[in-house]
């Protein structure tokens, strides 16, 4: 899997993900995550106000938008790290509204953070092992009897080493995570998320602050997740990367979804160009988002 270099050959894009015209809130053939009327206000600021959105299963979806568009807030809401003022959302058909973050993660929806959260004073290997689910040894009473969890621990370690090998972090396994470089921490965080066998991986700016060489390897890993049958939703700013690996792009601005569609088509969308490049620089962004009409005949 890791031997392929998707940058040299064009990655296989998933197509036929949506039903009907690609417009904000369009129906998907097989959605894994569906959200309705999700809104979140911080005082007077409406950070997120999403009418309806569906994330297609088995594909890589990019969530893009200018700074302050509400991407991370939406991420926090969908993963239970923040509570919305209104709205409901479900994951694989299971209602997620009000479900705490750790339960969301247990259901197979794992996230990473924009500011990497490597657990500094734990070794790389310990970080990895922590990611595994349903550990007997993590129960207070069973933990004091090593014979109850030694076998499972060995299995977890084996898998952790396997994944570390794939992410080329194996040499660092006994180092404190705090000693890793920024890029290595991004890799570690992604690798750690994989330890829980997720079905949906949500990456918050996986490429932020990573040098170009490591970006390539990160992209490979993201594409790898898809080949292994996982669904990926990621927030990103770099449009070239989005174009390269995403099967579907959702564009947010001022808390709302302003466009959706396959990458090449979305990037031609006038609303997106406006939101990103500010071609109407004399006009407030709100005017731009407020006047959008669902793009016609994109398909």
């Amino acid at each position: 899997m890791s031997g392929s270099n998707p940058l040299k050959k064009t990655p296989q894009k998933a197509t036929g993900l949506h039903v009907g015209t690609a417009a904000p809130g369009v129906k998907k053939v097989d959605p894994i995550l569906v959200a309705d009327h999700v809104s979140r206000k911080f005082g007077g600021l409406v950070a997120v106000d999403v009418e309806h959105v569906e994330i297609p299963r088995g594909a890589i979806t990019a969530l893009i938008g200018p700074n302050g568009a509400g991407k991370t807030t939406l991420f926090n809401l969908l993963t239970g790290f923040d509570k919305p003022d209104t709205g409901s959302w479900s994951f694989s058909g299971k209602d997620l509204a009000g479900v705490p973050a750790h339960k969301v993660a247990k259901m197979g929806q794992v996230r990473t953070f924009q500011l990497t959260k490597a657990l500094g004073l734990l070794t790389v290997l310990e970080n990895m092992k922590l990611g595994a689910k349903n550990q007997t040894g993590e129960s207070l009473f069973q933990s004091i009897f090593p014979f109850l969890w030694k076998k499972q621990e060995a299995e977890i370690e084996e898998r952790a080493l396997e994944i570390l090998e794939r992410f080329k972090l194996i040499k660092l396994k006994d180092d404190f995570a705090a000693s890793l470089s920024g890029g290595q921490r991004k890799l570690l965080e992604m690798a750690r998320a994989l330890m829980s066998d997720p079905t949906l991986v949500m990456l918050d700016e996986p490429m932020a602050g990573v040098n170009p060489a490591l970006t390539e390897s990160l992209l490979e890993h993201i594409l790898d997740l898809k080949t292994q049958g996982m669904t990926v939703l990621f927030v990103e700013h770099d449009m070239h990367m989005v174009r390269h690996i995403a099967d579907w792009v959702i564009v947010m601005a001022e808390g709302r979804i302003i466009a959706e569609g396959p990458p090449d088509e979305v990037m031609k969308d006038e609303a997106v160009v406006d939101a990103y490049l500010g071609s109407h620089q004399d006009v407030d962004l709100g005017v731009v988002t407020g006047r959008i009409t669902p793009p016609k005949d994109e398909k």
Binding site: H102, L121, E126, G137, L140, S143, I144, A178, S196
Partner: protein
């Protein structure tokens, strides 16, 4: 100067129920602060609850000695839960404020005359150890050698306390080396990351608060076991003595708090004998021997400052941990 008595006092502090009680409290605090990162400044409160849990259940409810120890553990567990429900969602520094207040509330409630029949108020409680002494396996006589010479009862308390300490330290060592320990260390580093991996952070923090609280509570019970319980024993300064012992030994270790407590008390006893003796001999200028005795707290404070600057990871802590201290 009576070098001999200074030596005897110092040597006795090496193996005394007070040292062991401190080691227990420091051990509990190591779980709270060293492993989960909970800034608990109410460790004296946990010790008071454990101590009075033992004394009151014996005197008021007539519990046998073993049931009194269980009651003491249950009381400190309950105290941890009550303290934890509102505070574990708070940020670390707020937890520190709440715990220091909670410990004072406990002490003042014990001091209050409202329940004088149960708590003994300022006079405290005595004569609760009969049941414990009645199972003393050592016949009357003197035990030990050299400076370590004990009556049968003293010896029994000491041996029992050592056993409790050994068992507690072993269990905690097992805990922190297990996957459970990994989770709580992860929480210390970053709660949200651990939450994102599907662990119930609140439940783990609560478990750790209860486990550390029970150990500290048992420390409180051992603290008062030899003689009497009094609210003044559990003043805020006790909390900071325990912190000193913990930081001295190494916060994120199991062996460190034990070593720290021993060093702390040996030093206390040594300075407590040496300084008044020096004052009597006229070596400390105009200081009276009582003043010189109090001087030891100043020296211990200076020691703490030096330790934190020179060796912040404690005596047995991992040096690597410091290379990456955040902020």
């Amino acid at each position: 100067m009576d070098i001999n008595s200074i030596f005897i006092n110092t040597a006795q502090a090496l193996f005394s129920p007070v040292t062991i009680a401190f080691a227990m409290a420091a051990l509990g605090l190591a779980i709270h602060f060293g492993f989960v990162g909970l800034l608990n400044f109410g460790i004296a409160g946990f010790m008071a609850v454990g101590a009075y849990g033992y004394a009151i259940s014996t005197l008021t409810f007539g519990f046998p000695w073993w049931a009194a120890f269980l009651a003491s553990m249950a009381a400190s567990a309950a105290f941890a839960v009550i303290l934890g429900i509102p505070t574990l969602q708070l940020r670390g520094d707020y937890l520190a404020i709440v715990t220091i207040a909670a410990a004072e509330i406990v002490r003042l409630l014990l001091l209050s005359t409202t329940w004088i029949k149960t708590t003994g108020s300022a006079d405290g409680l005595v004569a609760y150890a009969d049941g414990f002494r009645s199972i003393n396996p050592f016949p009357d006589g003197t035990y030990g050698f050299g400076p370590w010479s004990y009556t049968a009862n003293q010896f029994w308390v000491l041996i029992f306390a050592l056993i409790v300490l050994a068992v507690s330290a072993f269990l905690l060592w097992r805990l922190v080396k297990s996957p459970w320990g990994r989770v709580i260390k992860g929480i210390r580093e970053d709660e949200d990351a651990v939450r994102a991996l599907g662990k119930n952070v609140f439940a783990y923090k609560m478990q750790a608060l209860v486990v550390g609280g029970i150990v500290a509570g048992l420390g409180g019970a051992l603290y008062i076991l030899p003689s009497s319980a009094n609210p003044m024993l559990f003043a805020t300064s006790l909390t900071f003595f325990v912190w000193t012992a913990l930081l001295l030994g190494g916060a994120a270790t199991v062996f460190g708090p034990l070593l720290g407590a021993v060093i702390f008390w040996v030093l206390q006893a040594f300075l407590g004998s040496l300084l008044p003796a020096m004052a009597d001999a006229g070596l400390l200028g105009a200081l009276s021997s009582a003043q010189a005795g109090a001087l030891r707290f100043v020296l211990v404070g200076i020691l703490l400052v030096v330790i934190v600057i020179v060796r912040p990871q404690g005596i047995v802590g991992d040096k690597r941990e410091l290379t990456f201290v955040r902020k």
